[in-house]
């Protein structure tokens, strides 16, 4: 079983790093691999079923997802719209049963670390390559008409730095390709920053600090507004976590407070500036993106609030799909969205009961950032990224499980 777990984890690393590139290169939708992966993981669990320990929560959550899928498919007749969310939870659950109990946490985290390292190096190489040779070769190599094939290849993205820097380099696509426009690369940069910052905090190896700063640099070289928000929120939370450690120390000077207030004001000013780069005012942004996305909810009935609306009604009531949470609420209702996010939330809460596991905070933090990223485009649900998210969630599920607790 140990070797199977290693092979499966190895396959997942290759899958995460290459799936988007292969998909774009052959211009062929490879979403079917998600189904293969989940059946494959279940197959491994099935043939080693004596070694797979179940918990009450696993049974309840798995059945809840099965019920919701049956409901959306057969009763609402919306097809497999709930598959992605089911995939995330069930695959995480399966990986936490078939990989993590059979390999060490260190080995598992090293693989995640390797993924982030390759992604970061990929971003740097991509930037340098575009700067020196331009992006024509990449665009030609991974050209794929998304509207016709459902696959988005390498895209020439607008880069906001052209307004600031004396030269213009298109936005980065990353190894995951621009499946959600410029959001994919920039959001990954934020996550890589968090990963290496916590790694630095843990082992004080300066190379991790440099890698974290390099990730931030890549974000600044190919930024998006949503990712900037994520970065600022992340820094804010990291600062609060830091404050927690010095809470009992006596206050010697208020200088830091003044600096913090200044930084907070500067960040707010910067955010307003960033938000108003493309649009005339914050009023316009609020009216177009916020009100336009939520106004249709006033016409929902109780069933629609709970279980979502039909596709036709969605088209009729909503003109915009800029906020991914809202889109999910429209499609799945509070029950569908609630079951998904509350399941993740449950696993996060549960993991805190086990203090003996390493790297809980960065994993939870990254899960949180992926989920927060849904405030705009759902980067975490794109091919490759979804499996990366699953790796973190699987770790959290395993870390909070009785299997892990019994190990100590």
């Amino acid at each position: 079983m140990n070797s199977i777990a290693r092979y499966l984890l190895g396959y997942l690393v290759i899958h995460i790093l290459l799936i988007s590139i292969v998909q774009a290169f052959f211009c062929q939708d490879l979403k079917i691999l998600e189904l293969t992966l989940i059946f494959g993981a279940f197959g491994i669990a099935f043939f080693n079923s004596k070694k797979i320990t179940l918990e009450k929560s696993d049974i309840i959550i798995a059945f809840l997802f099965v019920f919701l899928n049956i409901y959306y498919t057969f009763i609402e007749l919306k097809g497999l719209i709930f598959f992605k969310m089911t995939y995330v939870i069930l695959l995480s659950m399966l990986l936490s049963k078939v990989i993590l109990p059979f390999i060490s946490s260190n080995e598992y985290l090293k693989k995640i670390n390797l993924i982030y390292l390759i992604l970061l190096v990929g971003l740097v190489i991509e930037y340098l390559y575009i700067a020196i040779f331009g992006n024509k070769f990449l665009v030609d190599l991974f050209m794929c008409n998304g509207e016709m094939t459902g696959v988005r290849g390498y895209i020439e993205l607008y880069n906001i730095t052209r307004e600031i820097l004396p030269y213009h380099i298109q936005g980065l696509n990353s190894l995951m390709m621009a499946q959600q426009g410029g959001q994919t690369a920039s959001q990954l940069a934020v996550i890589i920053f968090i990963w290496y910052l916590f790694k630095f905090q843990n082992n004080k190896d300066r190379i991790n600090l440099y890698l974290a700063l390099l990730a931030v640099l890549m974000l600044f070289l190919s930024p998006t507004i949503a990712s900037f928000f994520l970065l600022f929120i992340s820094i804010g939370i990291i600062y609060l976590l830091y404050l927690k450690t010095i809470l009992n120390e006596p206050i010697k000077s208020f200088l830091n407070l003044y600096v913090s207030i200044f930084i907070a004001c500067f960040i707010i000013y910067l955010l307003v500036k960033i938000l108003t780069v493309k649009h005339t005012s914050l009023d316009f942004v609020y009216e177009k993106y916020i009100l336009g996305s939520v106004a249709g909810f006033t016409k929902f009935n109780l069933k629609e609030i709970l279980l979502g609306v039909s596709y036709e009604r969605e088209l009729e009531l909503f003109k915009l799909g800029e906020i991914s949470y809202v889109t999910q609420l429209i499609k799945f209702g509070f029950v569908g969205v609630g079951v998904f996010y509350l399941s993740i939330f449950y696993y996060i809460i549960r993991v805190f009961s086990n203090k003996n596991v390493q790297a809980i905070v960065p994993n939870i933090f990254i899960i949180g950032v992926f989920i927060l990223g849904n405030a705009h485009y759902p980067v975490m649900f794109t091919l490759g990224v979804i499996e990366l998210f699953v790796l973190h969630l699987a770790y959290i599920i395993y870390a909070g499980s009785n299997v892990k607790k019994n190990k100590f």
Partner: protein, 283 residues
Amino acid sequence: MNEFTLFNALNIIKRHLLVTIAIFFAAFWVLPNLNILENQYSAQKLIKPGSHHKSFLLPLLDYQNINGILSSTSFNNYLNQATNGSGVASFKITENNIGNMFLIFKSHNKESIINTADSLMKKLQEFDNNSIQVKIEEINEILDVDREILRVLLESNNDYFLTEKDIEEWAKKQKEYDLAIQDVNEFNQKYKINLVSIMNYKSEETLRQVKLQKDILHQQKKIEDLEFILTEGFKPVSYLFPVTESDISKYFPNSLIFFGLSLIAAFLYNLILLLYKFRKSFN
């Protein structure tokens, strides 16, 4: 046993597979007869847009207009009053690629679909009829003028004919004229003018008659055309076929929904069973 493994779960599911299948089929057989789900009906009607004669352009309702009217609050208020308490069916207008407009009605009550469809179309027709009425009045005015012209033409017809009285009067004048110009020796010269006059008169008379008849015929044709346009030239928006009960079909609950519900029942049994066994395994 203090550990509940996937093997245990699969064994429990395997042992109760027959019961699960029995529950599924029992639910699938029983559920449709229980009437626990309210029937939902739908009807799709093709809308024929209003038409006008090509000579009289008219702003009749198109997809945008109809969509705007149907989504207005006042229209909903009107439907609430017009359906006489049978309830207003939900409706939606769509347009396909080739420009056909469809109205889709949905309700739990067949009667409300028919009432809503009828009331809705009556109101839409009011909009078209108002536009058509303005054009009809305009055509009626044209018709009044044309009928008057025809009357004048018909009445003027007799004035062209040479009556016996006219000939007698002409002959009498001719005699007087002959007497007055007896000194003219040349006979031909004497009568030549008169013959030419008669010839000219006949020729003009014929042409005039032909022209008059043509004018009358044209005028009559024009009036007939306008009268035809009045009766057949303008049609308000309507359904291609009238709304009948045979157009309404039940769409909910269908067999797929009962299949889904039966599946949920079967899985629910398994969930309860697994949770029970799980609990038992730790006791």
